[in-house]
């Protein structure tokens, strides 16, 4: 059964090595669409995610917020973040569903050195495979949205897998199914884009003149998109304005990789050149004969 899911990319694996089944056309490409103007921050999605995926309950403590956890973790793949923002007289309680956006150009996958630890399916889902994960956390650096989280006990990294077990059999992810106000919707990405357009219009009609779709091009678009009432205040939702698939730390790494290969190559070549030029120096004339 799982073989029917067509694969688009596999971490640290040249496309030539991607299994043959994946040459089939991919089937539907899905996307979540989160309408922030309908989100009431009820944490239904957060809880449904944990329940469906059998994620461990964590000991939390109220830190002066309606937010449950301070941050995502390997056992909390989805977190509702709350932010009170005041612009003049206008109080806005901004509530964002924070979880993997499933980038079309997944920085995590590009950064991953372990073949098969991150797989991108043609339906848009980017999934982590803990069996192959080596726990190096390059994916954490590679993610422009700061999503993957390391697990101390398993020494692997985990994040939202878009309930791939449900999607595979034609169900929607648990967060989508449960969302009480239909703030999270699910469907073919093209349909979701059309719906998003409608939602942006609705928001503009309601007076949110900066309403916008968040489907950043720097990562090739995402498979969880947001419709944001305040498109001009993305930072208040902690949404990066211009995320890219290879953020700065990875640049450093790739530069270093290149320098490294030149350096080691240089080492080998110069040793060889030296040897050819001057040869070995050994006391052979005298070494093997005892002195008279």
């Amino acid at each position: 059964m799982p073989d029917t899911l067509a694969i688009k990319r596999i971490s640290a694996t040249p496309s030539a090595l991607i299994p043959l089944e994946s040459l089939r056309s991919g089937g539907p490409v899905y996307s979540k669409l989160v309408d922030i103007s309908k989100c009431i921050g009820c944490k239904g999605c957060e809880v449904a995610c944990k329940e469906w995926n059998d994620l461990k309950v964590e000991q939390t403590a109220n830190f002066g917020s309606m937010q449950s956890h301070k941050d995502l973790s390997s056992n909390t793949w989805l977190l509702m973040r709350f932010n009170e923002v005041e612009v003049g007289d206008d109080l806005q309680w901004l509530i964002k569903k924070d979880a993997c956006l499933h980038c079309e150009e997944p920085g995590c996958l590009f950064a991953c050195p372990a073949p098969g630890a991150i797989v991108q399916y043609q339906n848009g889902i980017v999934d982590f495979n803990q069996d192959q994960c080596i726990g190096c956390q390059n994916c954490v650096s590679g993610c422009p949205f700061d999503i993957p989280r390391f697990d101390k006990s398993t020494k692997t990294v985990a994040k939202c897998n878009m309930c791939i077990d449900r999607v595979e059999v034609g169900l929607e992810p648990a967060c989508v199914k449960t969302c009480p106000t239909n703030a999270i919707q699910w469907g073919i990405k093209e349909d979701m884009l059309a719906l998003a357009e409608k939602k942006v219009e609705t928001m503009k009609r309601r007076g949110y003149e900066h309403a916008a779709l968040y489907n950043p091009g720097g990562v090739g678009g995402t498979h969880m998109m947001y419709v944001v009432p305040h498109g001009d205040r993305l930072e208040d939702y902690s949404l990066p304005a211009h995320p890219v698939a290879s953020p700065a730390p990875l640049h450093g790494l790739s530069v270093l990789r290149r320098v490294g290969s030149y350096l080691l190559g240089f080492g080998v070549v110069s040793a060889l050149a030296h040897f050819l030029a001057v040869g070995p120096e050994s006391p052979e004339d005298e070494a093997w004969e005892p002195k008279p």
Binding site: P115, I134, L256, G267
Partner: protein, 204 residues
């Protein structure tokens, strides 16, 4: 009849050297595997990706201990003296095998001494950054990135040193490796490469 031999390294010194050497090679190979997807197959040498991920820092710990012993064992011999400075001035003659233009070296020539110091410095970087990377959950991603870059940079420098070290110790100067295998070198070798030391240790 075998040629007369001088004891260059004790058993303990050789053991320490090989512990450091072998662990470093394994670390370098697994490290390369982690940073170059095309070399990921190297992890297979020690049981595959996850095993390599678990073993790398543990081997690193052994490496660090070895390095510490190495430092203690050799540090007294590694301070540069006046002839060493002259030796350094004539390093190109040394490389060109112009034997007569190179000031005589003691047990260790100045290049070897510098190698020691650079290696020790890199060792500190390895251990410090490696420790942080071993327990990444305790540190922020920014710090970890810096540490990871430093770790990689040190690894690459170390790799370069390894190439140099192996080349010089084997192909370039035949007979050298024997000192690290059974501990003994020929007097001829010693006279050639470390005349001052061979003078001190004239065989009876």
């Amino acid at each position: 009849m075998s040629p007369p031999r001088l004891l260059r390294f004790t058993f303990f010194q050789r053991a320490v050297h090989w512990v450091v050497g072998v662990t470093f090679v394994v670390l370098l190979l697994t490290g390369l595997a982690f940073s170059y997807p095309s070399l990921f197959w190297l992890t297979t040498l020690i049981g595959g990706g996850p095993a390599a991920r678990v073993l790398h820092p543990q081997i690193g710990a052994v490496f660090a201990i070895g390095l510490l012993f190495m430092f203690v064992l050799w540090v007294r011999d590694m301070f540069l003296d006046a002839p060493d400075r002259q030796w350094l001035g004539a390093i190109k003659h040394y490389a060109a095998h112009e034997h007569d233009k190179v000031p005589p070296a003691g047990k260790y020539n100045a290049g070897q001494k510098l190698f020691f110091w650079v290696q020790s410095l890199l060792g500190v970087v390895f251990v410090a950054t490696g420790l942080l990377l071993w327990f990444p959950e305790s540190f922020g991603p920014g710090l970890l990135n810096t540490m990871r870059l430093l770790h990689y940079a040190a690894a690459l420098s170390g790799g370069l040193l390894l190439i140099l070290h192996v080349y010089l110790g084997t192909v370039a100067y035949p007979g050298t490796a024997r000192g690290m295998i059974d501990g003994k070198v020929t007097t001829a070798w010693a006279r050639l490469h470390h005349p001052r030391w061979s003078g001190e240790r004239v065989e009876h």
